[in-house]
Subunit: 397 residues, 2 copies
């Protein structure tokens, strides 16, 4: 078949200096006739952003941190407009020529620019799961209104999308998200009491950013993915199961009403789901590493330990309660992970803290976007206060 | 969605008293508003056929063995016409009201009635892989001409069809057929020298007929499946790989050009692929046993041992040579399996005998159906002669 002319896609990347952003650029680089990098946005990593500008010549580049922008302003080559500050993200995503926005900022901060992108009618390759966690109903509704595609970049959701291809919605019985279980799979609560930051950051299969690596270790990541899957695929929470699969080869599965199960497999590498999000429903030939069955291979499965890894149940609870509870859960989790990474709380404090924030949260059903922001803000404050109080108690004792 | 009226399908079963036939009736029984049994055909198992007639009230029933038919003629209830003899199969498959023919006779004998069914414009649920092995080009060409669907019932090919659903042909990189490896997986040639018939019939996962169970033990079954997959999915032989997966949970896989792999999983039970062949592209809700991930589960993979299990290479060679060679291979295999089951030759004689028949065969490229029948007949004679000579030599020694 002849290629259609004009199939070049212009891409904006929110979070180009992070793990997903860097992987995305690796992918785009391999298809210079299919993708053009139109805009890049990062928080503060000016040095890396400058190198990316030099390599990819985007029309627009944004640094949220204005001081960081000042440091490279004089070095930015002609042809790229460097902008600074949160508001400049609007220019990065709503530029007339942008076709797809890869939304890869970490955490809640990705919400506002992604909403702007959707309102500008841009398709979204969604790497930031927190957006659907905190505002799934609002964001999916907006996407429908603006006829925008929300394509998952998470490997699990990409796997599910691939398994659902060509299948009717009514044929789906349940989704089965696989979880590597992180570095602590099989460990007891006692063993987890004294794990270090370094232990928690040592993920067996995936090389990712710090936030998501800790979320993997607590299984909160899988909890957030249940919420994300619910919104992306319109499947009731009770029909989304989790199974621990430490090798991260099967990225997720779908069971159908007849009892058949389909799975998507691949080496643990984000480049494949990134590419699929950009090419769906097509597939492009890639030179990514392939699964090799010529060596003996062993894939194992077991049920998650919900007693030890409480975050999974907390996320499910938040989804069931709905309203602003998922936003409160997510905010508390972001603060808890930060506090763990800075050595302020222990690994087992993370679910304690989140559970306490959820209890204190006043749920707001059918929230508007401003309610989501308020819930996020409030839950962060509660979490900070709890950490502060806890520290004082510890110091007193 | 409202069900369309007139979606009842009338089914003919060739081989209703065999393993696939009995499983098919189990499936049909569960959907009395979707499927009606219109005709049943069997070789000679009159007692079981009579019970099936009494339960399913087909319009037509056929026994190929005329003596067997005579034994039940007086017991057949009004409403069912009992016919006898090979020629009566035409009535079973080309009856005006038949929509789908489940082709489940064992071996080469299924070819002629299946061709008749295709020429009558009936969709085929194909459980008999030998049909495509011996006459793949002719049968797929006929199916295209008569606008007939060839739906695989083999669990491997059903898995591949499910993985291909919604995907473009050009997106496919390769098919990966999984093989349980049968009861002798991991064994050396020395260990196989003295295996008994009972050992070979003791398949670890699947309960099937004797012919296919021995084919599983020699890996000829997987060789025949490579040929079948080539014709069903129009994939070059070099792009069809085999991996040994002793648990028979992943029924087969497809690798795509981007490096992604899709797999279909299920408990080893033929009812699911039978149902899928009848409902595709839809899926019906079933009460078949489900895969359960709540217990620890271990799926292993390794390369097949082509030195020990020579039949796999022989089948590949036959496919590459094309013409009438696959028919010669299949005929020799049918004779060899019979001879093994009757205790006339040993397990390791099976590939020897087939290899010798292939060597003696004069290939006929672009064969007509009569050339296929001639090659089949000739190869059976050669195989019989070789067995006879071998026996005389053994007796002399």
């Amino acid at each position: 078949m002849l290629e259609q002319p004009g199939t070049m896609k212009n891409i904006a990347i929110l979070g180009s200096t992070g793990s997903i952003g860097r992987n995305s650029l690796e992918v785009l680089k391999q298809y210079p006739e299919k993708f053009r990098v139109l805009s890049l946005a990062a928080y503060s990593n000016a040095r890396l952003l400058l190198r990316q500008i030099e390599e990819f010549h985007p029309a627009v580049a944004v640094l949220i941190d204005e001081n960081a922008a000042g440091r490279i302003r004089s070095s930015v080559p002609a042809g790229t407009t460097l902008l600074a500050g949160q508001d400049a993200l609007v220019d990065a995503v709503s530029h007339d020529d942008v076709d797809v926005v890869i939304s890869a900022f970490v955490g809640f901060a990705g919400l506002q620019p992604t909403i702007t992108a959707i309102k500008s009618g841009k398709d979204i390759a969604l790497a930031n799961k927190e957006i659907l966690v905190v505002a799934g109903e609002i964001v999916t509704q907006l996407a429908r209104e603006h006829d925008v595609r929300l394509m998952p970049v998470d490997s699990e959701h990409s796997a599910i999308l691939q398994c659902l291809t060509g299948e009717a919605r009514k044929a789906v019985r349940r989704l089965i998200l696989t979880a590597s279980g992180g570095p602590f799979v099989g460990k007891s609560r006692e063993e987890l009491a004294h794990v270090t930051i370094k232990d928690a950051l040592n993920h067996p299969n995936w090389s990712m950013g710090n936030k998501i690596t800790i979320d993997s270790a607590t299984l909160m990541n899988k909890g957030l993915e249940i919420i994300e899957a619910h919104w992306l695929f319109d499947i009731p929470p009770a029909d989304i199961d989790v199974v621990v699969h430490p090798q991260s080869i099967i990225h997720s599965m779908v069971e159908f009403v007849d009892g058949s199960v389909k799975a998507q497999l691949g080496v643990p590498d984000m480049k494949l789901p990134i590419l699929y999000a950009l090419t769906w429903p097509e597939r492009f030939t890639s030179s990514f590493p392939r699964l090799d069955f010529s060596m003996p291979r062993d894939l194992t499965f077991r049920e998650p330990d919900l007693e030890t890894f409480r975050c999974l149940s907390l996320a499910r609870e938040a989804l069931e309660q709905g309203g602003t509870v998922p936003a409160a859960l997510n905010a508390a989790n972001e603060i808890a992970v930060e506090a763990f990474l800075s050595g302020t709380i222990t690994f087992l404090d993370i679910p304690e803290l989140i559970g306490e924030c959820m209890q204190q949260h006043q749920n707001h059903q059918q929230p508007g976007i401003e309610d989501i922001f308020a819930a996020d803000e409030e839950s962060r404050q509660v979490a900070q206060q709890l950490i502060e109080r806890n520290r004082r108690v510890t110091m007193t004792v």
